[in-house]
Symmetry: C2
Subunit: 282 residues, 2 copies
């Protein structure tokens, strides 16, 4: 099977490395609008060849869109226009707007919307690593709208990189993703902005960075080109979760300001439950 | 040198393991108000003997307070009352109120206020690990108020566990600690509360937990008994940083709500700087 990966960054590059290692494919074609990525991806063994979009589609059995969600929304309808037998998937972190863009497309059945919940704060072909997806959760949305053959191909692809698959509709996905992924990035960005606002002396930031700040602020390195369109496409859910978050933070602040230790204790103990919930299923 | 460690949890226990391994001490006495910790600490080889507070002080050359900051503030003056030649340090995450409690104590010189910026979200003797402090930053406050001998002992102790030492006054410490450690815990607690508020179905929390949520919410497992008194003792700085944080988060939310992608991009790119700052000195 020939796989064409559009977008040779962290996600597309890591997928390529694992698909080859697990012998899911014997030929990987790369498409990327950034010419700097072409050589990097070839040298790192991510792809066998680099092509223009149109040839990449023609040569492929499976086309994977691993670019920011604004790019996916723009390209996906054009790609389906050219598709004959090919299966297409995207790996975007918001799903509803993307799926809407091809709702009535005659080749809608060839397309399987998906979202592998895996990543790091880094980007580009240099950031690609093997094993990125292993044991993480991959989400496939609106499965009834994809053809059985396309579904089977994408299911096999994610199984090959050792993901655990979950099926849900796009509306559910976008709401959950806002709560457990998008808000995490927003809290990291806001934390970084807060600290930068205060600590003009860089040495101090580093000196005190071992107190839990590093893990909490890790995601603040995530790229704007990826996240701006996610927040736009998932605006309604993101705003809802930010409202709840600001409310919770304000509740905490008021309890501390009032010296209400009993209430602060209750809030922390309630928050502690999340970790039990997470480890319980790990 | 005989070291008495008061509080055999994550911090006290981890310190004991490393001090013994590096041959800083040949005898470690443990004091803990929780009898369950006595056997755990003995079995894990954290301490050689367990004693009541008074005997633990008498037998010691060095006394380390590794309990929550409300307990430190209560015990420290009483311990200094009994001290003759012993050096005393505490490992609390807030410093000003603790130092105030012994400002005019005749044995103030025997005491060195410190804060090792290291930890995990776990607690108790079972959570103690070797190497917890290695390459992390240890802070020593108000050094001019400690005797040279006491300072030398504490400096050697932290060097023995491979910390990098930084000296600053207590007011500076409490302000910086609020910005890079205390707020990180608050953002994690608030994140956990936000998600718990939404996701009543535990399975969903787990399913989507690979999208960055795990690292950001890790600190939400931190214990109330440790953090409630820190937020109380460092109230003024904590409130200031929470105000700034809520302001930054609201700025983000407004930009997303307005569909102002240019502004969202600017905010993310500004936040990205933090990671460069952190890695630059790592």
């Amino acid at each position: 099977m020939t796989v064409t990966i559009i977008g040779l960054g962290l996600i597309g590059g890591s997928l390529a490395l694992d698909l080859r290692a697990r012998r899911f494919t014997d030929r990987i074609i790369g498409v990327d609008k950034n010419p700097l990525h072409w050589d990097q991806a070839m040298e790192k063994g991510i792809v066998d060849e680099v092509m223009k979009l149109h040839s990449g589609i023609q040569e492929a059995d499976l086309i994977v869109l691993a670019i920011p969600v604004d790019g996916i929304k723009e390209l996906l309808p054009l790609i389906l226009d050219y598709v004959t037998h090919q299966t297409v998937t995207d790996m975007g972190s918001s799903k509803l707007e993307i799926i809407e863009s091809v709702r009535n497309h005659p080749k809608r059945g060839n397309y399987v919307p998906s979202h592998p919940m895996a990543g790091t704060e880094f980007s580009g072909p240099e950031a690609a690593v093997t094993g990125l997806f292993a044991k993480k959760v991959g989400i496939i949305c609106d499965m009834a709208d994809s053809s059985p053959k396309a579904l089977e191909t994408i299911t096999n692809m994610y199984m090959a990189v050792n993901m655990r698959l979950v099926f849900m509709n796009a509306r559910e996905h976008d709401s959950h993703a806002a709560y457990v992924s998008h808000i995490s990035h927003l809290t990291s960005f806001a934390l970084a902005l807060t600290v930068l606002d205060k600590e003009k002396n860089e040495k101090n930031i580093f000196n005190l960075a071992s107190g839990g700040f590093d893990s909490t602020a890790r995601l603040a390195a995530s790229s704007a080109s990826m996240w701006v369109p996610i927040f736009s496409q998932n605006r309604e859910n993101v705003i809802e979760v930010m409202d709840t978050y600001i409310k919770k933070m304000t509740e905490f602040k008021d309890a501390i300001a009032e010296g209400n230790e009993k209430r602060v204790e209750e809030l922390i103990q309630e928050a502690n439950i999340i970790q039990k919930t997470l480890t319980q299923f790990a």
